[in-house]
Amino acid sequence: MRRYRTAIIEPASVIGEGIASMLSASGEVEILFCCRSVAEAKAYIRSHDEVELLFVAASLAPQLNGMPLFDNVPMIAIQSTLVESEVLRRFAAVVTTFSTTEELLRTLHETLDRAAEPGYNESHELSERERDVLVLVARGYTNKEIASELNISPHTVISHRKNIVHKTGIRSVAGLTVYAVLNKLITNEQL
């Protein structure tokens, strides 16, 4: 059975570990990491590039601003205290400390289904990782070479390349190379 690669950022260990254990027990979810702060998650997410979904404590929302690493990963808020509705609006969905395993899984499925719909991610800015991939594409690397260089799977490279094409509107390698140069992501000498 396909297992959804999920991570959790929750300062209260008992909540984070509890949700991790409920999701893992379902057999549908693989918990890639469960950490207590955004800074820790930043380090983890660099080495776990295949995160499909994040459960994040709603109280950490302000710390996520301006973090391109999290741009393309749908996030579900974990609400354990009173939080302003404005804060919750930046998440794809919300679960609470009272949610059952069934509710957690239903929210997870709904969020991933919505994320798979075209146009879900309205940002047309390339994420940091997509820029890394684009530069290597422009330098003539194959998907396999890009995967090895960035320490990610070829499947993830393909996914990044799809996002790059969607966001730039450019499909050919020659066109993407011009795009990278004109946007100063790479110099002529680096090509």
Binding site: R171, Y179, V181, L182
Partner: protein, 235 residues
Amino acid sequence: MNKINYRGATSLLSPEMKIFELIDAHPVLLSVFSRLGITLPFGDISVEQMCRRGGHSPELFLILCRMHIDTSFRPRPSELREDMLLSVVGYLRATHRYYTEYMLPHAGEHLDEILEYCDELSRSMLTKFYSDYVRYIEQHLEEEEQTIFANVESAAAGSRINLASLEVPHSDIDDRTNDIASLIIKCLPEAAPTHLRCAMLSHIYALRDDLRRHYNVEVALLRPLIAQTLNTPKQ
């Protein structure tokens, strides 16, 4: 069971229609006239009169007009006749000339005007990108002329040919044309005046749409005509 073929607004075109009415309703058809070698002025004649005068089949002319107006239009097999094959090849050859002698050079001139406002690196990258694009299209058109068109003409003249050599080759011209539009919209420096960018974009989109119609004529008209005409045993 016969499938219902909804033909929409293109069913309103008829041999009795005045040329003026046709062009007035669908100015995009002017390029069909020029590719068939039909020149202005038309006076007050009908489609049928104009075709008879120029030695063209009114039925084929209307099929081409319908395909030009509506890219989803497909002629019925019963509408296709053997004598249309060479005329369609002639039409497609003229379309190739329209691209290589007018559309592509003209877009290149627009690009040159824009590039005057770009730095050296952008200029050299975009110039190379566009010249590679033009070369790619020219090679594709050349391949079609050397293989499909030449073989169809040989077969029509009685030579035995391999029908497999008449497949329309796949290309990613559409993607490449869209890439040019995306680069102009998203990457060119602000210094390039808007009216120059818009002129270039209008030209590129017109080229893209025309290339799509061209491909449609190859797939939905030339291919069935080849199958119908060259597969039919001669009595």
